[in-house]
């Protein structure tokens, strides 16, 4: 049978697509973190990095289009599978015992959708600059867009920082399960390294959480100003 049809219609195929796009988005989360942490190296470093990305459409646009496609496939498969899963049990149980199922694994769709809402706000805030149009006029000494200043001004708001920390927390929970489930769905798990993958997923999730929240906390604490 047609391979694409199987990938897009079978339960295993959809899980495969979800895992593959999840892996891509996971790598983006790491790459984005590494880029952002340059804020601790001072304005010169992060502004030069931002300027490089913004003036290199050969990198910027393929990445944007790729990420958009990944996000669409990831969300479409998750919603489609969730709806199918709901119909697989019409009558529920009176007494429910949560045998072995972690909270993270049972709430993937909700953590995911809230993260998506955050990403929409985050893009409107720092990329499209519709939340604060005045961010557009921030320029550093070299005439580049002053990302450093934008970041400090943006995170000075407790609301913005609070929502950011909350969303990154959900991302951490999502990845603590998602990263290991991704290996399972791709068939890349066996008895030899299953435990190692499960631990890797949790450790990386916590590191990502600490890495990301260090930025708004540093801004609010006045370390980055």
């Amino acid at each position: 049978m047609n391979i694409l049809l199987r990938l897009f219609t079978s339960s295993l195929g959809k899980k495969f697509l979800m895992a593959l796009t999840g892996a891509g988005l996971f790598l983006f989360v790491i790459g984005h973190l590494v880029g952002n942490l340059q804020v601790f190296l001072g304005p010169e470093s992060i502004n030069r990095y931002g300027h490089f990305l913004q003036t290199t459409p050969e990198i910027l646009w393929p990445s944007r289009i790729g990420l958009l496609a990944f996000v669409i496939i990831h969300i479409w498969t998750s919603i489609s599978l969730t709806l199918e899963n709901r119909t697989a049990r019409v009558t529920g149980y009176e007494v429910k015992e949560l045998v072995a199922a972690s909270t993270a694994s049972r709430t993937m769709i909700w953590s995911g959708l809230i993260i998506f809402a955050f990403v929409c706000f985050h893009l409107a805030h720092y990329t499209l600059l519709v939340v604060h149009p005045e961010f557009r006029d921030l320029q550093d000494a070299h005439g580049r867009h002053d990302i450093y200043q934008m970041l400090v001004l943006g995170f000075s708001s407790y609301w913005v920082s609070g929502f950011y920390v909350l969303s990154i927390g959900l991302l951490c929970i999502h990845l603590s399960h998602g990263t290991s489930a991704m290996f399972q769905s791709l068939g890349l798990k066996n008895a030899e390294y299953a435990c190692a993958i499960d631990r890797f997923a949790k450790v990386v999730a916590v590191l990502i959480f600490l890495g990301y929240i260090s930025i708004p906390i540093a801004v609010l604490a006045g370390v980055v100003k």
């Binding site: 391979i3 199918e84 199922a101 399972q184 068939g187 798990k189 008895a191």
Partner: protein, 257 residues
């Protein structure tokens, strides 16, 4: 010991059901859960009432016939046992025990605690045949099977097809069952000739039966009376995508057919 029961009673697939309370008195703690139900049923019969319908057969944990979700857990509170080998000593005196049927759209209810699990049979049938020589008895050493492979195939073959994995899964997914059935043949040289065809057909049938997908929560593995490992699902995924992606040139005979 005495226990109170809340049992799901439903006359048939089309009628509405509800929980009915029963008291099981003077129960020997070393009775199995099914023997306790026998005692309750004997009492009901004596009083001219309809006994509770439940599935059972061998009562020694190997046939996969018994089911029931007991206090929210398929096959009850004990690890790696079926309902028939769950003993009343696992409950405390005076406890209220809720007994429900396995719930899944693919397992339609027949009566009370009895559900129709023939969806599993259709998944196995979809797997098709295994190529074996049907002439004289084959030489015992003609096909070499490494001991670890034989043991692993046996671990998968230990699945008794009870459906507890489906009952426990939040998505009513049958992945653990299908993975076990795919793996126990795919791991052995005798099952290799039809390996790709088998996994594709069984997964397709699984989807058609209306089971959900896997969220890797691990509930299935935890309630499985045979302790089938979640790693078999990863192996099934591997076999499935292997079969999808490695399709090579097709023989001319297949194109004409």
């Amino acid at each position: 010991m005495n226990v109170k029961l809340r049992v799901w009673r439903q006359k048939g697939p089309q009628t509405a059901g509800q929980f009915v309370g029963y008291e099981a008195k003077n129960i020997n703690p070393n009775m199995s859960f099914l023997e306790m139900l026998d005692v309750v049923n004997e009492d009901l019969t004596k009083r001219g009432q309809e006994p509770i319908a439940f599935d059972h057969d061998c009562r020694e944990g190997i046939c996969g016939m018994c089911s029931c979700v007991i206090n929210g857990e398929p096959h009850g509170p004990e690890y790696k046992v079926a309902t028939c080998q769950t003993y009343m000593r696992s409950f405390h005196d005076g406890e209220t025990i809720t007994v429900e049927p396995f719930r899944a759209k693919a397992f339609p209810l027949i009566k009370d605690l009895v559900v129709d699990r023939t969806a599993f049979d259709r998944v196995i049938q979809a797997g098709g045949f295994v190529s074996v020589s049907s002439g004289s008895a084959p030489d015992g050493n003609a096909i070499l099977v490494p001991k670890p492979d034989a043991d692993l195939a046996m671990d998968a073959a230990a699945c008794i097809g009870c459906g507890a994995c489906v009952a426990a899964c939040k998505n009513a997914s049958a992945m653990l069952f299908v993975a076990a059935k795919v793996s126990h043949l795919n791991l052995l040289p005798q099952g290799k000739p039809e390996k790709d065809r088998r996994v594709l057909a069984m997964v397709t049938q699984m989807d058609e039966e209306g089971f959900g997908a896997c969220t890797v929560t691990g509930s299935c593995e935890a309630v499985c009376p045979k302790g089938i490992s979640l790693n078999f699902i990863a192996k099934m995924n591997r076999d499935y995508f292997g079969a999808l992606f490695k399709a090579g040139p097709k023989p001319a005979a297949a194109a004409e057919a």
